[in-house]
Every structure is written in structure tokens, then in C-alpha cells.
């Protein structure tokens, strides 16, 4: 009974999220802090997810092909009101130093890291998505608000360092961020598209702005900083106890100042189309004359400005409860900025051996809704660490799935001092 209560508690507060410190590392470390003499850690991950877009619909955008009407209608049928979509791709290399001491403490050392990442997210209402994907044929006599449409994309490089605790891998670090690209598109009220009941009038109200950095260049278009940190602590440590590892962390929390070549393009106007004059057609004008003239009427104003924008950072908590020799229960919660939702995760880890973890979790939030994740971690010969994880395994197999992700982590743990007892 006590186990069930504990499990329920972890469902509420704990979780496992990739790019957080491996549980295998945590459990391999000890209170001496001298288990490892440095770790080289390489990570890469990519995620595409949404609350409404299915893999069936997204797949043609990735591998090419036709987006079928069935796929679009299926997505529309599954939408409630506001749909969220997003994705990210990140790579990071981090080296945990293996010196004997730092600032006189044998428990502390430095880590350095470099990384590169891209992030994008957006939102759109059901009607706006229906209009853009299927056309206005089903919207005669109605005005479709477009102000729900927002999107943001940012790309950056980072280089930084930090201090970590060799016993728990708790760490705090700062990175200098080189902003590569920033794009943000927002439509404001009263942006909308109106089709009159008998389709003799189309009206597009467009009000919004498009904020973007200058064209990508090697030296970047902005500079800023980010902070990563993690606090790991353990309760009832020991193999014969109900050990609980807890983690509090922040990731990629920072800001970038995009330079003065960045541009804010504003637009606010109305375009009404009622067709060409019939007399013009009888006098030889083309029947389709003028239908492509919208670009000529797009009224914009732009100015070059420098501005600060936050990186897409997050806060997270995680707990791993040692259920028995081979089973761990996990729970976690990660908080993002809008439009992404909080990501709640709970899962189970099975350890057939002490150097191997097979995990499974269910989660809800971030870009999408419910998902079923799986992962595997393996510490080979107490030196090579390999981890692979997906936050939504069905995304690879079912066309109705709404998220696909893959994370890969490869590490080399230098000169293990403590003999592994596997």
C-alpha cells in the first residue's frame, strides 16, 4: 500500500526528461565524488509535436509527398479551438572536468560546453487552419479570425562553462549565446478573412508584424547569455533503501540582444476583392486579370531595431523512486513559456542490470498532448554511456500520432576509479 501511495505521489510531481542528468550517472556516483575523472558528453535531440497535427499530415512536409484531404480533415475534426505546434533540434557537447579539486573543494569541478539549437513554435485556431489548409469553400458567409496565428523561430549557438558537484552532478553554468536567426510572425485583431454568403466579396483584414533578424551569417546576428543549472539531491540513499533522487533544474534560460540590422515589419490594412469589371472582360481584359495583384496592395512599414528576446528556456523538477531492485518509478514536470504547455511526465524504469535501463513513460504537454515515450540507457564497461529516447514511440508507427522525437546521448566517462560491481 505504501508503494502505491508513493507511486501516486511521483505521478504528480516527478518525471524523467532527456537532457537531464542520467540516472545511471547519479546512481554510479557516490559521496566521495571520485567515481569519475571527467566525462565527455555528446547529446542531440529533435522533436516535432503538436496538439493537433498528426504525423500523417506532417510527414509530407518532412519527407515530401501530398498532404491528403483525409489527413487535413482528420486533423480538423480532432481540433478543439487553438492548436499548438512546435519543434526543436539541439546538439550539445559538454565536458565535465576531472580535476582533484576546485576552490579547495574536492567535490567541485568545472564543466565546459558548446551547443547549437533551433526552436520553433506556433499556434493557430481551428478555423484559421481550416481556411489555410482547405480553402474558403466551407467558409462562405463567415469571417474567419486570423489573429490566432502566431509563430516564432530562433536559432543560436552557445559556449559556456559551469561548476558541478561530482557527487550529485548538481551544477550551475552560464553560456554566451550567439544568436543566428530569429523570426517572429504575429497577426493581431482584427485580422480576418471574410467570404460573403454568395462568395461575391472576399475581404482580408491583415494587421500584425513580422520581426526578424538579418540574414544568417557566421558571426551571428545577436549576442546574449543563458543559464543552465540543476540541483540533485537524494533521500534514503543506499541500495537497500527506498532511495529517491530529486532534481530541480533550469535549462537554457537566457536572453539574446538581436542587433540593429534586425527588422520589424508592420502591416495593417484591408484588401477587398469583388472581381474585375465585366466591361473590362468584354473589352479584352483577361478573365483572371488582377487576381494575383494582392502583393502589390500589401502595405507595410518597416524599421530596423535592436531588441531583446528570451530564449526558449524551461524549469523542471524530477524524482526517481527506487521501487525495488530492478524497478524505478519516475515523475517530472517541466514548465515552458507560452504557447507551449507544461509537460507532465510519469514513467517506469526497468533495470535488467545495474548498468542498463529500459524506460517507458507517459506524458502530456509541451507541444502536444498525450504521448508514450520509451528510452534505453546503457553504461558499457563503466566507460561508454549510450542513451536513446523518444518521447512518443507511437509517432513512428501510427499516422494519427501527434509527436515524433528522438534523443541520442553518447558519453565517455574517463578513468573510472571505483570498480564497477556489475
Amino acid at each position: 500500500m505504501r508503494k502505491i501511495i508513493l507511486a501516486a505521489a511521483f505521478i504528480l510531481v516527478g518525471g524523467l526528461t532527456f537532457a537531464q542528468t542520467s540516472y545511471l550517472w547519479l546512481t554510479k556516483s557516490d559521496t566521495t565524488g571520485k567515481v569519475f575523472r571527467g566525462i565527455l558528453d555528446l547529446q542531440g535531440s529533435a522533436t516535432v509535436g503538436s496538439t493537433f497535427l498528426t504525423t500523417e499530415l506532417v510527414k509530407p512536409f518532412v519527407v515530401g509527398g501530398t498532404v491528403t484531404a483525409e489527413a487535413r480533415n482528420s486533423v480538423l475534426a480532432g481540433m478543439t479551438d487553438l492548436g499548438i505546434l512546435g519543434g526543436n533540434a539541439n546538439v550539445r557537447a559538454r565536458y565535465y572536468g576531472g580535476r582533484d579539486s576546485l576552490f579547495g573543494s574536492e567535490m567541485l569541478d568545472l564543466y565546459i560546453q558548446v551547443g547549437k539549437g533551433y526552436f520553433g513554435s506556433g499556434r493557430i485556431s481551428k478555423d484559421a487552419f481550416g481556411l489555410l489548409s482547405n480553402g474558403n469553400a466551407n467558409y462562405q458567409g463567415s469571417r474567419v479570425p486570423l489573429n490566432s496565428i502566431q509563430g516564432e523561430m530562433q536559432g543560436f549557438q552557445s559556449i559556456g562553462f559551469g561548476i558541478y558537484d561530482k557527487r550529485t552532478f548538481s551544477s550551475i553554468g552560464i553560456s554566451m549565446v550567439n544568436g543566428l536567426t530569429y523570426q517572429q510572425f504575429s497577426l493581431f485583431p482584427p485580422s480576418s478573412f471574410y467570404t460573403s454568403p454568395n462568395a461575391d466579396t472576399l475581404q482580408l483584414d491583415y494587421s500584425g508584424e513580422y520581426v526578424h533578424s538579418a540574414n544568417p551569417r557566421p558571426n551571428g546576428n545577436g549576442i546574449g547569455f543563458s543559464i543552465d543549472g540543476e540541483y540533485n539531491f537524494v533521500r534514503d540513499r543506499g541500495e537497500d533503501k527506498k532511495e529517491v533522487w530529486n532534481t530541480l533544474g533550469i535549462r537554457n534560460l537566457g536572453w539574446v540582444n538581436w542587433n540593429g540590422q534586425s527588422q520589424v515589419v508592420s502591416f495593417d490594412s484591408t484588401f477587398t476583392w469583388t472581381g474585375v469589371d465585366l466591361n473590362g472582360i468584354l473589352n479584352g481584359d483577361s478573365l483572371l486579370n488582377g487576381t494575383s495583384g494582392f502583393a502589390d496592395t500589401l502595405i507595410t512599414s518597416s524599421q530596423n531595431v535592436s531588441f531583446w528576446r528570451p530564449l526558449r528556456g524551461s524549469f523542471y523538477v524530477r524524482s526517481v523512486y527506487r521501487w525495488n531492485e530492478k524497478v524505478r518509478l519516475t515523475a517530472g514536470l517541466e514548465m515552458f513559456a507560452a504557447p507551449m504547455k507544461p509537460l507532465a511526465t510519469l514513467g517506469i524504469m526497468y533495470m535488467p542490470k545495474k548498468n542498463c535501463i529500459i524506460s517507458m513513460n507517459i506524458s502530456n504537454g509541451a507541444y502536444g498532448n498525450w504521448k508514450l515515450g520509451m528510452g534505453v540507457q546503457w553504461l558499457i564497461a563503466n566507460q561508454f554511456y549510450f542513451g536513446f529516447q523518444t518521447s512518443n514511440l507511437p509517432g513512428y508507427f501510427f499516422k494519427e500520432a501527434k509527436e515524433m522525437s528522438a534523443s541520442l546521448q553518447v558519453s565517455y566517462l574517463f578513468k573510472t576509479k571505483k570498480k564497477d560491481n556489475e
Binding site: V63, N136, N198, A199, G275, V276, I281, D285, F384
Partner: protein
């Protein structure tokens, strides 16, 4: 262990490379958009070739200027080069001639080419005359050349002086003088005042005033050559005798170009035809119309207009010059339903009208004694006028038009056209659409007759939906054209109905559009 690591790498690379995009992303969406709208009235349908009478009935009205008798048709002064040698009237030599001594003095009438007419006076609108003199005399010469009655003031002369250094037979000395002839009167009646085409001049050649005898050595028969070059002379006013030549005219004017003349059966009422001459030139003439033929090239038919005194020759009497303002005389031939076949002529729906005839000048000879005249800005004019009140009956009256459909993108495919029509005309229409290659897009789409009562326009409503298949659209797009055929029938043909200018057709054209988006 190495095997395990290698296996991990293979799996990793495989996963990362699985996202390669081999073909573009495409999707279709369905849009509906207005293409065209507007109100068509009789003015629009007839390209404004019409007017409304007091009863509100619309009239088709065509007016065609048959001929402005151009000045170049009557007379002109072509580019002319007149050259003459003047010889010192002595023999022997050498003679030492002191300064300011006349060695040649002569009056001369030059004949001016006028293309067969006899001119006594012209006023030049533009052009030039170049006087060129060559001296083969070993003396300082001062030729003075006078053009009598050539000036911007009628009756005044133009004097030209040259100063020539000594020349020789092998190396003559030359002088040029260019006269701008614009707005100059040129009297061509010669020294007698009764000749035609004679330009009267006076030449005097002296030795230069401030020279001595030993500077001027002259032999008998030494010569000086004069040339007059007239170029680009445009006549503004002419007086003389224009002869009695006959001028023919053969003109065709196209009715369908301006009014989209239909085909089919058309009963008309009270059409009229007019041939009007406004004579403002100073000559008599005999005018004869040889043929007025309505041609329907589509039906390959022709109907000759007959009736009245259309083909009888008639005389036009010379205008009188009232101090620069010629009198005007008018000559009219009017044909109507009562005295001609004009109704059936127009009922044959001619695409064009052929008009041939002739004009003989001065059929009674030079009765004005050389006082024919014209002002270039007041010429005789003849015009045809056709007036057709649209009181008609139509049976399968077919209007055919070609619509331009220029599409430069493959991203758009029109899948349907919807026509919302309000028809106030008292006629039923059938609409056919075909591609340029003849493939049928839509056929026999019916637009019911309007419910108008006399001039009170009351429209009937109808909606025509025309599905367009992908194959049809591809044909329309590649040809860039769509042929529209409208077949009209009035009720109870041949019972006539009036078409009032208040009648209209309101039309809205919508298109169902399939948008093919593609992302590479």
C-alpha cells in the same frame, strides 16, 4: 564491446539520415472567389455606338467618314530642282571690269511642277527653298536674286544677295541661301499675271562694289549657274485650275469591330441610311456612288443597299471664298424603310460595309478661269450614317466573343464557374462555352427572358453553374482563350420588341478554384 559501440553508431546514423526529403510537399485547397461583376447595358454591348431617342428606345448608330479630299489628291508641289546657266553677254576678253558694274541682268519665269494642275497662287504651310549659285568668273561678284511675289505678306518680294570671290572653270566659287517657306505666299502667275505654275524672278550680277578693275578679269561667255531647290513643300491654300480628273474611292468599314455584330435572324424596323456631303472647296464636282454592299463574312453573304437616288450621280457646286472663309454647301441622300431596303440590309447583320464611288472635278471645265481654290483645313467631307432603332425580333441571334484567360501559374485550377444573372432584356438566352479548339465546356445554359414592361426594366434571376474538368481547364489554360456564344430569342418571333436603354444585365461571375500549393 567494440561491436556494441559500432552497432550503436550504425543505428544512430540510420535514424538521423531517415529524414531526407525526396520530393516536394504538395496539397490542394478549394477556394471560391469572385471573378467579375458588372452591369451591361445596350451602351456597353454596342461599344457606345448608339443613342437613346425621346421614347427611350436605344438606336444603333454608326458614322463613317468616307473621304476627306486631301490636298495632295488635288495638287502638290513635289521636290523640284530648277537649274539655269547665265552667260556674260560679251565676247572676247580678257576685260578688266571695275567694281559695281552690272555684267548680267535678266528677268526669268521658272516653271514649277504641280502634278498636272495649274496653280496661280499657293500659301505654303511648310517647306523650304534653297538658292544655290556657282560662279565660274575670275571676278568678285555680287549676284542679287529677287523672287517676285514670294513673301509672308501677299505681293511682297524676297531679295537674296550673294558675295562671291573669283572662281574659275575648274574651281567655281559657290553660295547658298535657304528660305523657310512656311506661311509664305507664292504667286505662280508669272510676269504676265495670267500664267500657271510660273515663278517670276529677277537676277542682277554686278562686280563687287569695293573692288578695282585689276581684281575682276572677265572673258566673254563666262557663266554663273543658279539652282532653285524646293523641298517638302506642303500647301496650305491653293488657287488655280485643279483640272477635271476623276478620283475613285473604295472603302470598307467594319461594323462588328465596334459592335460585335451577331449572326442569326434579325427583324428590324425603321432603320435609316444617310450619305452626307459637306462641300467647302472651290471646285465643281460630279459625285457618283457605285455600290454600297453589306458583307457578312461569317455567313459568306452580301446584300446591296438599294433605293432612292442612291446610285444617281449628283453635282456639287463650287464653294465661294469669302475672304478666307469658304461657303459651305450640303448634299444629302437619305434612305429609309420606305424608299430602300435598308431594314433588310441591316437585318442581314453585315460585319462590314463596302462603299465604292467616284468624284469628277470640274466636269464643265475651267469655268472659274483659274480660280479653283481650297484651304487645307477646310476640306470637303462625305460620310455614311446608319441609324437602327433597336425595335427588333431575334431568332437564334448569336453573339460570339472570345474571352482572354491568361493564366501563368500551375498553382491555380478553376474547377467551376458560377454565373448569377439578372436579365431585364425581353429575350431568352442560351449560353455556350467552348475552348478555342472546339471542345464543349458548357452548352445550352438557359437564361430566361426578363419581365420588363416597356421602359420599366424588371429582371429575372438565374444561376448557371459550369463545372470545369481538369482536362477542360488545361485546354483553356494552354490556349489562353474561352469562346462564349450567346444565342438570343425574342418571344413570338417575328413580333418586334423595343429595346430600351434602361434594360440591363447584371452578372456576377464566381470561380471555384483549386489551389495547388507546393513546397520544395
Amino acid at each position: 564491446m567494440r561491436y556494441r559501440v559500432f552497432a550503436c553508431l550504425v543505428v544512430t546514423v540510420s535514424l538521423l539520415s531517415s529524414c531526407k526529403k525526396d520530393e516536394p510537399t504538395t496539397w490542394e485547397s478549394n477556394w471560391v472567389a469572385p471573378l467579375a461583376h458588372g452591369r451591361l447595358t445596350l451602351s456597353d454591348l454596342t461599344a457606345d455606338n448608339g443613342y437613346t431617342d425621346n421614347a427611350g428606345v436605344y438606336h444603333l448608330y454608326f458614322e463613317k467618314i468616307i473621304s476627306g479630299f486631301g490636298t495632295s489628291d488635288l495638287t502638290q508641289i513635289p521636290d523640284t530642282n530648277i537649274s539655269q546657266k547665265f552667260v556674260v553677254p560679251i565676247t572676247g576678253g580678257p576685260f578688266q571690269i571695275p567694281g559695281n558694274t552690272a555684267i548680267i541682268t535678266q528677268n526669268q519665269n521658272y516653271s514649277v511642277e504641280t502634278n498636272g494642275t495649274g496653280l496661280r497662287m499657293v500659301k505654303v504651310k511648310s517647306g523650304q527653298m534653297i538658292v544655290h549659285v556657282k560662279s565660274y568668273v575670275n571676278a568678285y561678284l555680287h549676284p542679287s536674286f529677287t523672287l517676285y511675289n514670294v513673301s509672308e505678306v501677299y505681293g511682297n518680294n524676297t531679295d537674296i544677295d550673294f558675295a562671291l570671290t573669283p572662281g574659275s572653270a575648274s574651281a567655281p566659287t559657290e553660295g547658298y541661301y535657304t528660305i523657310d517657306m512656311s506661311n509664305k505666299y507664292v504667286v505662280l502667275s508669272g510676269t504676265s499675271g495670267f500664267d500657271y505654275n510660273k515663278l517670276s524672278t529677277h537676277l542682277e550680277i554686278k562686280t563687287e562694289q569695293n573692288t578695282t578693275a585689276d581684281q575682276n578679269t572677265i572673258y566673254g561667255q563666262d557663266s554663273v549657274r543658279f539652282e532653285l531647290l524646293m523641298s517638302d513643300i506642303v500647301i496650305d491654300y491653293a488657287k488655280g485650275y485643279f483640272g477635271n480628273d476623276t478620283y475613285s474611292f473604295n472603302e470598307t468599314f467594319n461594323l462588328a469591330e465596334s459592335a460585335n455584330m451577331p449572326t442569326g435572324l434579325l427583324e428590324l424596323d425603321q432603320a435609316s441610311f444617310g450619305f452626307h456631303v459637306t462641300h467647302k472647296m472651290g471646285f465643281d464636282g460630279k459625285l457618283k456612288i457605285d455600290n454600297v454592299m453589306g458583307l457578312n463574312t461569317y455567313m459568306n453573304t452580301g446584300v446591296q443597299l438599294t433605293g432612292g437616288n442612291l446610285y444617281n450621280p449628283f453635282f456639287i457646286t463650287r464653294s465661294i471664298d469669302n475672304g478666307g472663309t469658304p461657303s459651305v454647301s450640303n448634299y444629302d441622300i437619305n434612305l429609309n424603310e420606305g424608299n430602300s431596303n435598308i431594314t433588310s440590309f441591316m437585318g442581314s447583320l453585315p460585319y462590314s460595309v463596302l462603299f465604292t464611288g467616284s468624284l469628277q472635278l470640274n466636269p464643265f471645265g475651267n469655268v472659274s478661269d483659274g480660280n479653283d481654290f481650297f484651304y487645307s483645313d477646310q476640306l470637303t467631307e462625305a460620310k455614311l450614317v446608319v441609324d437602327v432603332p433597336l425595335r427588333l425580333a431575334a431568332s437564334d441571334l448569336t453573339l460570339r466573343d472570345t474571352l482572354n484567360v491568361e493564366v501563368t501559374t500551375d498553382a491555380v485550377r478553376v474547377s467551376s464557374l458560377t454565373l448569377d444573372i439578372q436579365n431585364a432584356f425581353p429575350m431568352e438566352w442560351k449560353l455556350n462555352l467552348t475552348t478555342l479548339g472546339g471542345a464543349i465546356v458548357a452548352t445550352d445554359l438557359n437564361v430566361p427572358s426578363g419581365n420588363s414592361i416597356d421602359a420599366l426594366a424588371l429582371a429575372s434571376s438565374s444561376t448557371l453553374v459550369i463545372p470545369i474538368s481538369e482536362a477542360q481547364w488545361n485546354a483553356i489554360k494552354s490556349e489562353g482563350k474561352l469562346i462564349m456564344q450567346v444565342i438570343s430569342n425574342t418571344p413570338s418571333f417575328p413580333q418586334l420588341v423595343n429595346l430600351y436603354n434602361s434594360y440591363f444585365v447584371d452578372m456576377r461571375v464566381k470561380a471555384g478554384v483549386v489551389l495547388n500549393a507546393e513546397i520544395q
